[in-house]
């Protein structure tokens, strides 16, 4: 493991060494480090820091601030970072509603934004921007994968998501690929903690499968309550409802759940085999999908800044767009709307040495883009 790590950092250093003349880069990292959503922000920060540490680059600096999951605060921080701290690239926002508030100001002031997670449909289509890159996915992708997967065994699905933009994107994405019958479609409140009323409807619906998109604490609450309800209908969902950050809190109730992800811990590629142990060694826990996305976002910025000056927006954008990185996801390249084209997998929650984690079941999409790229003309 050590040798492969060394090899990677050596390779990255070589990459940086050949452009000693490149401008130093200052990254503005805005993410959620307090409140209920802090787990996702901590993984985001740690993923970025690991990539920078491994690169050994001294010309890349990071300023980090906590957005407390509040859009108005995130906007203030972004303006402060751009105007008084002179950052070149911003990154790290977890939530779509925060990104929608921050992104217009960032690109209007001529700065780059590389998203580590949030990927609302509104920024992928007609309102795409040459300075806005998404290193994660487009919001619909993992739901589309589950829709495709549900075609293989479920005739009648009960589908459920929180009532906010990403929740509607989720069910839209699922239905875009699912060809069976939708028994019932339920929108829950954002931050809802009690799902008894919804579970009763699942029981009454006669569906043979349930698709849920409930990130963070919502998913934990739902899964624990579902396990107690005596309803046995199988659950499927997008990967972030069953990601490494929430699995320990759900417990054995999550065992056997099928989910989708563009990265899985056991993916068989050299970059992943170096990344997982390196992250575990550095932070003492397994990486989540958010950590991988952030790691790749940082890799993209590092790679671009070794090829072009960040002050030359056109050249830097082209260098980012080349996506010259070794992603733990395997195949990774940018679509015409600067969102990823990547493989998507179906995973299953299993227990390994007493720790709950995901394993790969099958590859459901190869080189999957998104439905909005065709509307992006910029």
């Amino acid at each position: 493991m050590k040798t492969s790590l060394l090899a990677i950092s050596a390779a990255l250093m070589l990459g940086s060494a050949c452009v000693a003349s490149a401008e130093p880069v200052k990254i503005g990292l805005i993410t959620t480090l307090s409140g209920g959503g802090a787990g996702l922000g901590v993984d985001t920060r740690d993923g970025i820091m690991l990539a920078i540490k491994q690169s050994g680059r001294k010309d890349v600096t990071v300023v980090t601030e906590d957005d407390a999951q509040k859009p108005e605060l995130a906007v203030q921080i972004a303006d402060k970072m751009i105007q008084s701290e002179n950052v070149d690239v911003l990154t790290g926002i977890v939530w779509s509603n925060l990104l929608m508030a921050v992104q217009p100001g960032v690109v209007a002031q001529g700065k780059f934004y590389v998203s580590t997670n949030a990927a609302p449909a509104a920024l992928a289509g007609a309102k795409c921007d040459p300075l806005y890159f998404n290193a994660a996915y487009q919001n619909d992708n993992l739901h589309e994968a589950m829709g495709e997967y549900a075609n293989k065994g479920y005739k009648k699905m009960f589908i459920m998501a929180p009532n906010y933009p990403a929740g509607k994107d989720s069910l839209t994405g699922f239905k875009r690929y699912y060809k069976g019958t939708v028994a019932n479609e339920v929108y829950t409140q954002v931050g809802q903690t009690d799902y008894a009323a919804e579970i009763a409807q699942i029981r009454a619906s006669g569906a043979d499968g349930v698709f849920v998109f409930l990130p963070g604490g919502m998913g934990i609450a739902f899964m624990k309550q579902y396990a107690q309800s005596g309803v046995k209908t199988p659950i499927i969902g997008p990967g972030f409802s069953f990601s490494q950050d929430v699995l320990p809190a759900i417990g054995d109730a999550a065992l056997g759940v099928k989910a989708s992800g563009q990265w899985v811990k056991d993916l068989d590629n050299a970059a992943n085999k170096a990344f997982v142990p390196a992250f575990e060694k550095e932070y003492g826990r397994l990486p989540s999908i958010y950590a991988v996305q952030a790691f790749d976002a940082a890799q993209l910025i590092l790679s671009a800044s070794s090829k072009a000056s960040v002050k030359d927006a056109k050249a830097f954008a082209a260098a980012l767009n080349a996506a010259d990185i070794k992603s733990p996801r395997g195949n990774f390249k940018f679509n015409t709307n600067r969102h990823p084209i990547q493989d998507i997998y179906v995973t299953e929650v299993v227990k390994e040495n007493g720790v709950l984690t995901n394993k790969t079941v099958e590859k459901i999409f190869t080189d999957h883009g998104d439905a909005y790229a065709k509307d992006c003309k910029k």
Binding site: S34, T193, A196, Q225, P248
Partner: protein, 306 residues
């Protein structure tokens, strides 16, 4: 809609109501007796859940965790009263809100500092696992029935405490005339600390019980706190009976609204619009009910005498 589904949903509403009652009882007592708005009541709920999860993880026993949640929440409540709250009784409500809001931030970040940013694991005890059959054929989780039973027992206990014991008499007396009861030689400071710790223990109990079926994480108390405020405003501030009726009203209205409104709306608008619209109206429903009740009875259903 079958009878079984309707019965199950009604039980869900009642269960949510009893859980809210545990939160609202402490909040309304503190407001009624001491005239204090305590925003940090949700933090005590969180303290209970974290104490239960931590002790249950260390010892393997949910029941020890439950005992710990009562002890820790009551202890945290007493400490909060003696160090901060005591200085706020004579101040106006705005200063109380500011100070107790600061307590929320201190408790949240303190908890993160101790336990980290990731949610903790807390499972239901083996005794209460699984579901039981109801008349009509529906299955209902045993644990939720246990929450209903606990809530009912606490409601009964509080009623007896307030109406039949010397402590209850003093609480009622303190509510009506603070100076007079102090003049009669009752140690009002200790009484206030006791009442505050009692309210805190109930919040801690609610946090621990709910923690087993939800996510034990920083910030878990605030959404419940908002509902608890709705409950005591509907019920009439300071009234335990009001908190009880208010909690059950909010629980049943919220659950039934989430379940029935999206279906009802499909008669008026297209199904594609009805689902999100129904969900949006359902999330407003308890506030509409609150506004309606306040319009008819501005001091709530069972106002305590001022």
């Amino acid at each position: 809609m079958t009878f079984a589904l309707a019965l199950e949903q009604l039980l869900n509403g009642v269960q949510l109501g009893f859980m809210l009652f545990l939160m609202a009882a402490g909040l309304t007592l503190v407001f009624g007796v001491m005239g204090l708005i305590n925003l940090a009541h949700g933090s005590l709920y969180m303290v209970g859940a974290f104490a239960c999860a931590a002790v249950a993880a260390a010892t393997g026993s949910f029941w020890l965790g439950l005992a710990a949640s009562l002890a820790f929440a009551a202890g945290a409540g007493a400490l909060m009263e003696v160090t901060v709250i005591r200085r706020l009784y004579s101040r106006d409500h705005l200063e109380q809100v500011l100070a107790t809001y600061a307590l929320i931030l201190i408790f949240s970040e303190g908890t993160r500092w101790l336990f980290g940013s990731f949610p903790l694991y807390l499972d239901i005890p083996p005794l209460l696992q699984g579901a039981v059959s109801l008349p009509g054929g529906a299955q209902y989780p045993l644990y939720r029935l246990a929450i209903i039973a606990t809530g009912a027992a606490v409601a009964m206990g509080l009623y007896l405490l307030i109406s039949r014991t010397r402590l209850g008499m003093r609480i009622r007396a303190g509510e009506s005339d603070r100076e007079m009861i102090a003049a009669l030689g009752v140690d009002i400071r200790t009484l206030y600390t006791l009442v505050f710790a009692l309210g805190a223990a109930l919040a801690g109990l609610a946090g621990a019980m709910v923690g087993a079926i939800q996510s034990v994480q920083v910030g878990m108390g605030e959404p419940v706190l908002i509902l608890a405020f709705v409950v005591i405003i509907i019920g009439g501030i300071g009234s335990i009976k009001g908190a009880f009726v208010g909690a059950l009203t909010v629980g049943v209205v919220d659950t039934m609204g989430r379940f029935l409104l999206p279906q009802l709306l499909t008669f008026f608008v297209s199904p594609a619009d009805a689902k999100p619209m129904g969900a949006a109206i359902a999330s407003m429903l308890i506030y509409l009910v609150m506004a309606f009740i306040l319009a008819v009875k501005p001091r709530g259903l069972f106002p305590a005498q001022a």
